[in-house]
Symmetry: C2
Subunit: 301 residues, 2 copies
């Protein structure tokens, strides 16, 4: 049995996974803030899963939002969790006596989506949350790139005169196609800016339609860059904004179909059939964390 | 001994390569036009290399500009060579009784550069010729992507109101950062538009400086997209415009350094040290053709 954890800003989502891939049990607790609370709650979830299943775990995988050194298991920065320079992997490995792998949250969600959707070959998982980033997976294994940064597509500039980005550049894809971009472009909607925007656009509000179409065009750019540059077989849309479901997918495909009509090259890419939605009813990140590569896991000291 | 051929618009460049990677001999002949001439001249180069080295060849790799099916060895379209739907791989394999691999010319040049420069890990070879395209290589093996189209970065749109591209889109990178883009932006220079442009820019011509800087910014965009999306360790600049050498590399690095000053993210990428020039004194495409994967070669019937 393997355990996968998705440590998010508000909760830790843990699953126990059988060698077959079947989810045996699932536990969720509040994350807390700061290294002591996060470590204690992490161990609590793991021990709870072991107790409830009555099965020892052979490995633990952890996904966490922030800058991770997957080789050492250290969390460099995870601002939302109050973590900076924390040896999370080694600490958990030492406490439990099993190998632990720590990964970026988008990467584990990418692995989880490939696993849950049974996608082989090269695939991208495009996470549209507060930010915009992709995880690349080849045959259900992570493609990390030379320095562990593959898929940072949110920081490709696409508008010469665009908005300033948190990264210091201007007009990055993240300034157009992300939750934070929608919150800026459709302000004053404290609940879910995306749902509200799409509702207003559906109701015919011309400003909402323009904002929505600009967002969809940005997502389309991200998908196209991934397909043209990496030639992934498909791009799976995930993250918080994947709850938009077909309301996002339909205009996205319309955008690709319009481009295909004027460009034989775009038509040859077959983009409409290469963009997929991640399932929103499964703990993809926790599931993917359980499938992170065991051979590079941090062994207990 | 393996033989690698670079079939170009004007000449066929062939090398015989020892198992050590050493180039044993090199033969060049005019390509000719149409299937009969190209096939006859291809066989002539191969037989000449076998005769001159006195060594039988165990495999042949061929690089050719155009749309190739590397699995079947068919050339779908190679407009400059007058080829359309030609079974080049099977025909050469049958004539010589050795396995033959046919590849896109940019892909074989990418392999040749990785081999000649001894580059391991993930690398991109950015070919700036008439068009703009990249070949991706991981540990000196081609990364073709899901459908054999990885690295088609020339057709990523970067300017919303840009020039029409041959692909049917507008503002593609190829409309900014390619030999054809320079010929359009700096017209009336029949010899080498790039060299003339850079000469005039160096002499202080403000129009030439503006055209050069726009070209360099386009190349910088291509490099940045490859590093950010694929996280290749380096991007090797090759193709016809690589003869610009340091005259291209110096402003390119200045462009990266300026972006790094305003963006910690760009600074963290270390782009200046990740862009390299391909050697211009070696037959990279022919060399790379000799190193194409033998396991997927077309066997003689």
């Amino acid at each position: 049995m393997r355990i996968g954890l998705d440590i998010g800003g508000t909760k830790i989502d843990g699953v126990a996974v059988a060698p077959s891939g079947a989810v045996l049990d699932r536990v969720r607790v509040a994350t807390g803030s700061g290294p002591d609370a996060v470590l204690a709650n992490t161990l609590r979830v793991i021990r709870s899963l072991v107790d409830r299943t009555g099965t020892p775990t052979t490995a633990v995988g952890i996904g966490i939002p922030g800058l991770i050194d997957h080789e050492t298991g250290w969390v460099r920065h995870a601002v939302n969790l109050g973590l900076s320079e924390v040896a999370l992997g080694p600490l958990v490995a030492d406490a439990l006596g099993v190998p632990v792998q720590v990964e970026n949250d988008v990467n584990v969600a990418a692995l989880g989506a490939a696993q849950a959707m049974q996608l082989d070959g090269p695939r991208a998982y495009l996470n549209i949350g507060t930010g915009l980033a992709a995880g690349l997976v080849v045959d259900r294994r992570l493609w990390r790139g030379a320095r562990g940064n593959a898929g940072e597509i949110g920081h490709v500039p696409v508008l010469a005169d665009g908005l300033p980005c948190v990264c210091g550049q201007r007009g990055c894809l993240e300034t157009v196609a992300s939750g934070s971009a929608l919150a800026t472009a459709w302000p004053g909607h404290a609940g879910n800016a995306a749902t509200d925007l799409f509702d207003c656009a559906d109701a015919g509000d011309p400003t909402a339609i323009a904002v929505r179409d600009r967002f969809v065009a940005g997502v389309a750019s991200a998908v196209r860059i991934l397909v043209v540059t990496v030639d992934v077989e498909s791009v799976v849309i995930g993250g918080g904004l994947a709850v938009l479901g077909d309301r996002l997918l339909a205009p996205l495909r319309a955008c690709f179909d319009a481009a295909a009509r004027s460009s034989p090259f775009v038509a040859s890419l077959g983009l409409s059939s290469r963009v997929l939605l991640a399932p929103t009813d499964q703990p993809l990140a926790a599931l993917g964390a359980a499938f992170t590569a065991p051979e590079s896991a941090i062994a207990p000291a």
